[in-house]
Amino acid sequence: MVIAPLAACSTGGGSDGSQGTTTITFSYLWSGPEAESLEKIIADYNASQSEVKVIGVSSPDFQKQLTSMSSSNGSFDISDNFGDVVGSWASKGILAPLDDYNIDMSGFVPSSLTQMKYGGKTYSLPIAIHSQLLMYNKKMFADAGVQVPTTMDELADAALALTKTDADGNITQLGLGEAAPGATQRMIAAAFGGSWWDKDGQPTPLNDGNIQAMTWYQNLVNKIGPDKIAKFVAGYGQYQSDQDPFFSGKLAMRIDGEWNGVGIPKVAPGLEWGVITIPGASPQYKDTTEVTASTLFIPANSKHKEAAAKFLAYMVSPDAMKAFTVALGNMPALTSLLDSSADYSAIENFSAFADALKSPNAYAPSSAVSAGEYMTDLNKAFDSIASGNETPKKALEQVESRVSSYSK
């Protein structure tokens, strides 16, 4: 944690007058193999020109990133995050608008740019887009003689059939789990026609579809036993590690993203997994998927915005974006790359995630100013629902009561 700011200080001096080279710091949230892939792209860029020298720093902490941008002198010149923070950060003047720089914004998948704008200006650009679908363990389905579900009722039946317990009643295999706390609950709402935001991005926790989805979820959890599930989940290992419950064959289904197409072959090469769209409670709500974007932005306190914009333009150019997204197993945000998916054919189940983007029921989460506070309160409500402590309506009413206090 100490290295990043020191590195930034030592390299943030900017222009190396004698050579006309501007040095900028790229602080990114990626780490491990993803960071290694990114460093190769940075090295290629540095080798390709002498105008801008980029120093990459892996710093995978959201809150550290945010506080680093609060001082008058920025410790980095370009960084990454997700699309849902753009509105909140742009409204507070944290991000520099990108419209005045010479960056080609014409080739992006149109829906991927929706979250990038605030007040008519573009504050971030997507380097990758993500969709989330229902991943399942093929062997577990075959062993249990369960067909892949096509409705939410079938999904509930499959989740129950694929849940196994030992002689003491402890769960040894769970039918439907989560990639992150609250993720499944948030995403199944759309399968019931629900939405957590209105068209203006304002919170709508009490939407009928949301309550129906949470009732469906609570019924499913109650049939298995909230305490048993809590105990099983408490034994989860680290996400995308050997101990990841889906990777290690302890979880039959979970809603998760396309990056698993690279992660699973690396960590659990023998795992036979498939992907289907999230079933709909009724036909008009089938094929829902949450579309998010990994974004690049220039903080308002950067002293080298011009140089950072040049590097940003390079990062979202077809060659760099392809190198980055293929390495990470992400979907490119440029239409030209997305349509020529041959480059991505080696990534397991990639086409299913890419096809999901075309669904009329694909949606992007709000990037409203209050998104962070709202998601925190929603996760708390999801906990209450999953543990059976509150009815869905009551838990979501409590969130609704908090909405008026959110940052505007």
Partner: protein, 319 residues
């Protein structure tokens, strides 16, 4: 070597010097110069932030834009916010249970470490060792120890036929998990108690024994009064530490990418965690400053209450 007063002090008695005298002003400036590291540090690192946070608590301030005066809005919002009360409740729960238990465990540990047995220095070092492990490192270690699938704690309980709970997933067990992690580092308190025990005059025990006092009576009538000033110090320091508890629940509740988290059902959200989330995750610095002042006043009041009661139970030369 004899001590000699400075020449100026020898020729002009201090009582004869007037405040406006040149030498007096020089002494003042010299004193201020020597004290300047503290004065400057205090002004910039304490006085200014304290004054600024008091001002910010009456503003809508997000770190990035000019604060906007909102009067008492932050405080009224706070008192109407269930998350505020939940975080306060969680903190008081940890404090009320954690402080007495930490004191009891430390004192019991100090007694064990005071027995004249072979290898005692090694045992003392082992008890103190967790205190020097960085708290974040300890936190991640405990996340694994408390894991129901791979953790050592439930495995150990299983050896005795006990089906361990889901420590970090069941709201009823998250706070005991935090307390366990906290008690792991009572070595510092234990060592201070050990020093206090060694300071108790041996003749008092001998006199008590002659009077027929057993071990428990000796503890109650000799040990406890004699170490009560140390206990007062320990209680106040431990109390403040629990009221400000942050790192242990923060690490245990942490999720991927360090997004704001509070444990299942918000059961691990302490006051300091909530303050941090409001300040640095939701960028509500004005609201968070108000929370800081509430915590300060709460800590002050509780500390004053403890000090007021101390006259009744702390033994001193005058008491």
């Amino acid at each position: 070597m004899s001590l000699r007063r400075p020449a100026s002090a020898q020729t002009i008695p201090s009582s004869a010097r007037k405040p406006g005298d040149r030498s007096s002003r020089r002494a003042l400036w010299l004193g201020l110069a020597f004290a300047s590291p503290f004065i400057i540090g205090f002004l910039f690192l304490f006085a200014y932030p304290i004054a600024a946070s008091a001002f910010y608590s009456f503003t809508d301030f997000n770190l990035f834009q000019t604060p906007r005066w909102v009067g008492l809005d932050n405080y009224s919002q706070m008192f109407g916010n269930p998350t505020f009360w939940q975080s306060l409740g969680n903190t008081l729960y940890l404090t009320v249970i954690g402080v007495p238990l930490a004191i009891i465990i430390s004192l019991a540990g100090a007694h064990l470490l005071n027995f004249p047995v072979k290898g005692q220095p090694l045992y003392r070092a082992l008890v103190y060792l967790p205190s020097i492990v960085p708290i974040v490192v300890g936190g991640y270690l405990w996340r694994w120890l408390l894991n129901t699938q791979y953790g050592f704690l439930n495995y150990f309980l299983g050896l005795f036929g006990i089906d361990g709970p889901a420590w970090l997933q069941e709201p009823d067990w998250t706070k005991p998990a935090i307390l366990l992690m906290t008690f792991w580092t009572v070595g510092g308190t234990t060592i201070i108690y050990l020093a206090a025990l060694k300071d108790v005059p041996q003749e008092l025990y001998e006199a008590a024994e002659i009077d027929g006092a057993g071990a428990w009576r000796r503890f109650l009538n000799v040990t406890w009064p004699m170490i009560s000033p140390v206990t007062l110090f320990q209680v106040i320091v431990t109390l403040i530490a629990f009221l400000q508890i942050f790192t242990q629940p923060f690490i245990l509740a942490q999720q991927r990418l360090n997004t704001p988290s509070a444990g299942p059902g918000g059961s691990m959200l302490t006051f300091a965690m909530s303050l941090y989330q409001n300040a640095f995750a939701f960028l509500k610095m004005g609201y968070a400053s108000g929370m800081a002042w509430i915590l300060f006043v709460l800590t002050l009041v509780i500390t004053l209450i403890v000090l007021a009661t101390s006259k009744k139970w702390v033994h001193s030369a005058n008491n």
